[in-house]
Symmetry: D2
Subunit: 382 residues, 4 copies
Amino acid sequence: MRTGVWLIGARGSVAATSVIGALALRAGLTDPTGCVTELPELHSPEIPGLGDLVFGGHDISSNPLAKKADTLAAAGIVPGWLVRALSDELSAVEKELRPVPEAGNQAATADLIGADLIDFQRRNDLDRVVVINVSTTEAVPEPHPAHADLGALEAELATSRTLLPPSSLFAYAAFRAGCPYVDFTPSTGARLPALDQLARRQRLPYSGHDGKTGETLVKSVLAPMFAMRNLRVRTWSGINLLGGGDGANLAEPAANAAKTASKQRVLAETLGYVPQGTTRIDYLEDIGDFKTAWDLVTFEGFLGVPMRMEFTWHGCDSALAAPLVLDLARLTAAAHRAGRSGPLSELAFFFKDPFGSEPHALAEQWRVLRGFVAGLGAGDQV
Amino acid sequence: MRTGVWLIGARGSVAATSVIGALALRAGLTDPTGCVTELPELHSPEIPGLGDLVFGGHDISSNPLAKKADTLAAAGIVPGWLVRALSDELSAVEKELRPVPEAGNQAATADLIGADLIDFQRRNDLDRVVVINVSTTEAVPEPHPAHADLGALEAELATSRTLLPPSSLFAYAAFRAGCPYVDFTPSTGARLPALDQLARRQRLPYSGHDGKTGETLVKSVLAPMFAMRNLRVRTWSGINLLGGGDGANLAEPAANAAKTASKQRVLAETLGYVPQGTTRIDYLEDIGDFKTAWDLVTFEGFLGVPMRMEFTWHGCDSALAAPLVLDLARLTAAAHRAGRSGPLSELAFFFKDPFGSEPHALAEQWRVLRGFVAGLGAGDQV
Amino acid sequence: MRTGVWLIGARGSVAATSVIGALALRAGLTDPTGCVTELPELHSPEIPGLGDLVFGGHDISSNPLAKKADTLAAAGIVPGWLVRALSDELSAVEKELRPVPEAGNQAATADLIGADLIDFQRRNDLDRVVVINVSTTEAVPEPHPAHADLGALEAELATSRTLLPPSSLFAYAAFRAGCPYVDFTPSTGARLPALDQLARRQRLPYSGHDGKTGETLVKSVLAPMFAMRNLRVRTWSGINLLGGGDGANLAEPAANAAKTASKQRVLAETLGYVPQGTTRIDYLEDIGDFKTAWDLVTFEGFLGVPMRMEFTWHGCDSALAAPLVLDLARLTAAAHRAGRSGPLSELAFFFKDPFGSEPHALAEQWRVLRGFVAGLGAGDQV
Amino acid sequence: MRTGVWLIGARGSVAATSVIGALALRAGLTDPTGCVTELPELHSPEIPGLGDLVFGGHDISSNPLAKKADTLAAAGIVPGWLVRALSDELSAVEKELRPVPEAGNQAATADLIGADLIDFQRRNDLDRVVVINVSTTEAVPEPHPAHADLGALEAELATSRTLLPPSSLFAYAAFRAGCPYVDFTPSTGARLPALDQLARRQRLPYSGHDGKTGETLVKSVLAPMFAMRNLRVRTWSGINLLGGGDGANLAEPAANAAKTASKQRVLAETLGYVPQGTTRIDYLEDIGDFKTAWDLVTFEGFLGVPMRMEFTWHGCDSALAAPLVLDLARLTAAAHRAGRSGPLSELAFFFKDPFGSEPHALAEQWRVLRGFVAGLGAGDQV
């Protein structure tokens, strides 16, 4: 079960932390804290091991992975001694990173991306390669009729340079190259009918969107608590202060809109109504990768008595995301091996804005995930 | 299914809020916010309706219920207009309240308590009476060999005035009079082997302990979140600032110890280890019935990165407890009707320190509760 | 020293709370909590007493003051029994309220406003009338050359209907009628060179802007703390969640911009540099007049160690503003009596965005205020 | 103005951070963030420069300073590169550290301490040596009549081994050796009439107690804010969670009592009344030197409206204390040079529990401190 993990945005903080962590785990230098798939409840021989993962990826940046690792160490996101101990392994991964190709039209660009994926798979003798988007969040794209039909899409791609947003072009190229696709960001990715047609035709699974790492994770347990106790949430307002690359990008109004919409979905679907309030995201360069989120919830109890709760979450986004990236690579690879195709709604546990109509309550998502893992052995092994 | 609800501590804030709320619901003057049994998921014809409840109780205080209601209205716990609208109904309940009897020994006192219960049941033509302890928290009692054996207990009670703490004496008297018993407080109640023997002999169910209304409720969803994400909780510390009668009593070190032990159980049982930290309770007269709890959780993520979360909970204890008291009366009555006897571990959803080895994660408790309600119809109706 | 207090926005929450409070204090029904001028340190025979104040005002609404008082009582901002006890006094004030006049041009409108002021003064035999703007916040107006010169302004007003924003038109009318003017809002008010010329010509004092009631009050003591300890503030971000009329208005982007600029001034002027971060204002209808503000401050200590502080402020805006409105009426009246004209920079203690270059540290502003009060007796009594 | 700084507890976190910081400042490797005496407002040629300080000290531990520095670097309290850059300078300080002497009686022990001080002064050709207690907090000692009279004290010391707590024995020895004394802890130190007599006889100044570094610092600006606005504080409760050596010691009930009493003084003296509530200190080993304090303040505004404020302070105690230790060494040395003797009440700015009746409001203390510095030149230079 040698499994390739191809990271879109491979030189970014999340990708680099994922790679460093996987290498450290393989070398026995750290514990699998934060890795959900390592919990006893999710143990399965159908899931590739951490030691089976081989990393590569695309990035528009050319900043060396070793330098990125030093930056992460200086920011307290990974231990410095670990970076020093893994320098050889990081050099090996560096050789598997490629610049993002660009050709005269998106069809040709997709061919170049696909060629990189196929080369990676052959060179490393991999059973399969999972493509995971961990690049920065895109704006919501303009709708286009060709997004809804695979034939029309393929015809248009031959001449257009902008029809698909980058995340969707990578999904298209991945599917064409026989690779499952995971979108860890709120970007469009595989979320277009034409791409779903392609994935099913190729018998490929995909999952997303938007890794659930902080404030929304907390919402996904607190909102069901209010619902189960029949307490009426009147308002739920939050602010996220974050720096780092993702923070800077989210300061763009369009990307911000994509993200905040994704963050509110859990309330409507868990409570059955939409309380007043919004979730804001503000960029604070100085705060770096350690995000602070503050939420205020006002609610009404018996006989209308007003009450309130606040929480502050101070988490390191890359350190929260990285182990989930490894989990998703392994689980999506296992789903592919088990013959699954189309969206993996059972992985809703990991996402703010999951596919399908799975429940948004974390505990329910956990049960669904356990069922998914338990059922892996029953599929057609590929 | 006319169901009596006999409240120990019937003139206290929780009892009075429960009574006012039930009367208001029956009169269509309020919504059942906070009433778990009114959620569609728990609807069952086996459960007595809110309109089937008839209230009575014991209290050492003789402060009129109407005066208590005014005090609650002044404190913002119940609406003043509601108290005025319900004055006749409150007078009717007033007539069902009795002072706590006291005889020369605990056996004789228990007989007097039992006589009050039986009179109440006959006078109101009730199918059954559920006794619920909502009086202030007792200190943990001195252990005694007779606590472990019903025969020895009955022999000793004939001469002792102190063998059983009050909550257990009420449980004893309730069981002798054929009444199920619920302990909403952390006091000993039915938690003695001799009383369990009595309950089973009488074919009576009981439930407890310590209603889960605030900080522990939040813990019971946050601790599973950390566990499901394989994040390691390093410390969990909290402080509860509360006034009101319960607050004053909890300022007593012995009662405080009983309560804080009850509050920490959820962490050990959900996480599988005990993080550093303690839960403190401080009395602040001025804060009244609106409790403020603050918790700090420090945890470790991938590669050992330290992170933290804080929450503040500002809730009205009586308003949070009262609808649960109604839920427990109705569910315990239904269990009795269905022929259940012994501890009702399926009601763990409601308690900080539940009977049995049910999970402490709220979502799991919710599933167990739904199963309990769904199974009610299958029992032997009595 | 019979002193008129003419409120622009007289039927709003701040105005109504000011009036109810002043009437309650005169009747001995409450304590002067929140009234700065009642502190022993500011006692002076030069300042009119609370009993000397007579209220009137303009409002575009015609909602009766008694009805507004009931609304305030229902929201917990004023005690209901107080409103009932003061019904006669409130009816008397009701008779002194007028709709906002409107004529064909702003010169004529100003004449009508002035006539209302002069009538009020004569009818009540008042030594002077202080005009105070407590209406909702305006957008920042378009600049116009006539704002800078009194002659040009008066010429233009004869034909224009929009040259001055309402707050400035009231200031103009007040000055023409011989009345000092206070702006409790961030609106333009007297902050135009032409109006300053008019005030000085008329020998009238004025003060403003934007009452310092919550988050900014806290900033004005915390920012100096960091400065005095030579700790370097890296970021200071805040969010204000508020409902009520002011909240709804501040949801307008232009008014919001005026307000947030006013809120950040204290940091730059106290610290000597501008930390990263912004102050947001979000409207939450359900939260009513009780504002919740949350601020995060990250700072750097010795050897660059990063540290942080958060605070949450949960205050009732009208109850915080109302006693300051009374203070400002009394102090501005005393300044007028003492012969002062032009901006009263010594009243910076009360404002987020004060006139002049007075310090923004609250303790320094307090010293300046004490000096101002101490010096009142030395002026030319008028 | 070569000035010796003799640290009691020289191998502890505060002392080591002070030494590393002073060496780094002298070497131009860091900025004086956190050093109050480096602010322009306190600049004075009468105060010894940071480059004039020479360090030595006593400690019962023999853990090398270099090793302590590594521990501090690992905990994020000082930068690791700084420790490496300063290794030679740290070795030089290591040579000036001594074990705490112990003889058969306290008079003889004091002689040995004094001999260490005099040796240090001669060996380094110092104008004076300031002794600063930064060791862990002691319990409040048993009162003894000899504490009140220098003659009686000296007579008793010749035979007793326990008459004085360690902090007071060091103060006694310092005064006998002609050294000013500063107590940065809440321990007794020079706070005995007999020691005051000795200091005055020797013409030596002293200062203390209990460095104001975190929660109490914030209290000292917030409490005056409430007072200046005539808002009535109803309750003020806090909890401090801290690890490190000081935290472990404060878990001892007696030391905890000494500390919490010191922390509440600011409220009573600033507000003029004592609000309900207490300040708790809990030990959390895992939290290390980064303390988290949470405070809840409930207050009453105009017409009795209840409001509230919370704050969380997350600070590194050693990094907050260390620059103040340097400030106190320099200011106390300057006071000695200026001929001052007895308690330096003007240094209240630095302490939770200062000498004398100086105001507890930080801004007032700042003004007093500025006056003190400005007046230094006028004394008798020694």
